[in-house]
């Protein structure tokens, strides 16, 4: 990665002043994190990312389970979902600004709105794909209908929910940072904008680099938790 970065610099297509060396970017990242400014920005972004994603997780899982178990509800809400879902979430930023104004509330709404879809649809598919033989096994073991949902359907769909949550976590991060860039809400997004406007090119690259590392760590965190809590899912077996 570092080699390709340095190769692009050496080729000279881009002004070298706009492409600082990899070493200086990493060094600046470390200094800016240590001095506090960038670290605060990262924490602020996590501070809106986590609750926004949590709201999406709860609402998405609840809606996904309800839609999978209640076909009538699914049919009734299908046109609405098919219409709302393809709207690129950033296109709703003006509406959110108009209704909710600038602030954490608006940012949380945007994060939750954008990241609810993968959670909702993977949960729904997970519930729908539960092997009917599992449910039948519950019946022959004399497990009642409600208990079959809690003891069989929900555990069986957990890996699908987790996959949706992991996809959503990346989307939530993108939206959190986008909103910060556009509205100046504290976080990495507004930090990047500020260093860019101050002409601190290396500082800008450093904060982008830190953002990349954050995205990587978020994904790694979810993969680790999935493996630890669901060693039995087909994805995690034999690891």
């Amino acid at each position: 990665m570092i080699a390709s970065w340095e190769a692009v610099r050496a080729l000279g297509f881009v002004d070298r002043r706009d492409l600082p060396s990899a070493a200086s970017i990493v060094e600046t990242a470390a200094v800016d994190l240590w001095s506090g400014g960038l670290a605060h920005a990262v924490l602020a972004t996590i501070g809106s990312w986590a609750p926004g994603l949590a709201v999406a997780a709860v609402a998405g899982a609840g809606a996904g389970i309800a839609l999978a178990l209640l076909p009538r509800l699914e049919i009734a809400t299908r046109p609405l979902l098919e219409f709302v879902r393809p709207i690129p979430s950033v296109a709703l930023i003006p509406v959110a600004l108009l209704v909710l104004g600038v602030g954490l509330q608006m940012q949380l709404f945007m994060i939750a709105f954008a990241s609810i879809w993968p959670i909702l649809f993977s949960t729904k598919a997970g519930v729908e794909d539960v092997d009917p033989r599992f449910v039948e096994t519950g019946r022959v073991l004399h497990v009642g209908r409600a208990a079959r949902i809690f003891r069989i359907v929900l555990p069986a769909m957990l890996p699908s929910f987790a996959t949706g949550l992991r996809t959503a976590s990346a989307i939530a991060l993108v939206v959190a940072i986008t909103v910060e860039m556009l509205t100046g809400q504290p976080g990495i997004g507004s930090y990047i904008e500020n260093v860019r406007l101050s002409g601190l090119v290396t500082g800008m690259w450093a904060s982008i680099f830190v953002t990349g590392v954050l995205g990587y760590l978020v994904n790694a965190l979810f993969v680790t938790v999935e493996r630890a809590t669901m060693p039995w899912s087909t994805e995690n077996r034999d690891r």
Binding site: D131, R133, F134, E136, T137, R139, V140, L141, H142, V143, R151, I152, P155, A156, L158, M230, P231, W232, S233, R237
Partner: protein, 262 residues
Amino acid sequence: MDKSAAMNEPILAVDNLTKAFPAGATPILNGLTFRQEPGQFVAVVGPSGCGKTTLLRCIASLMQPDTGSVLHRGRHFDNPPPWLSVVFQDYNRSLFPWLSVRRNVAFGLRGSGANDKRVDEALRAVNLEHAADLYPWQVSGGMQQRCALARSIVVSPNLLLLDEPFASVDAQTRIDLQDMVMEICQTMSLSALLVTHDIDEAVFMADKVVVLSTRPARVVEEIAIDLPRPRDQLATKETPEFLQLRHRVYTLVRKQAQKLSR
């Protein structure tokens, strides 16, 4: 009905059973009738695709017949009766992968209390104590089927339904499982209904073999298997009586299969 009358009822009475699936299609079962007495081991054989699994699902009350009835000790059930247990063929689809072997076995038990002891006993009966804390997908196919067997006997059933339970395991494991199931049925005084396509297995294990016709399935013949117990994989299978019975069942099934290919 008083209690003594209920005791005299057959554990299972299948009467004039007809089932089309999906509804409106050509019937799979057509006027099928047979009975099973308490403590009896019955094997149902027939040409492949004749509707054995549909029959088993009707008997388990997982499916309701279109006409006719399935009575368990003289009563009709909309859901599997509490004294009935089922072992399915595809253990990898019926054991819950998120639960250990032990917790799979305990799945059908309510409350806690004396459950640990019962689970231990069931695990011992199928020789699986050493694998209790592993996940089903970490153990062999034969062990998974033993886990499914333990789960079905831990609730102390009276009637055990076995749907091709040995079809997905290798030959040696199949033999071991046959012996294990017969021994368990003997010690627990369990009635068992085995659905199988393996004629040797049916004659070797059962007290009565019910031969089904091709689709739509009806009962072609019921054959009493009066071979002495305990039965031995080598000695029993070499007796002239076993060979005669096997020949008779085989001839009946082949006749049906030939009808199908014509």
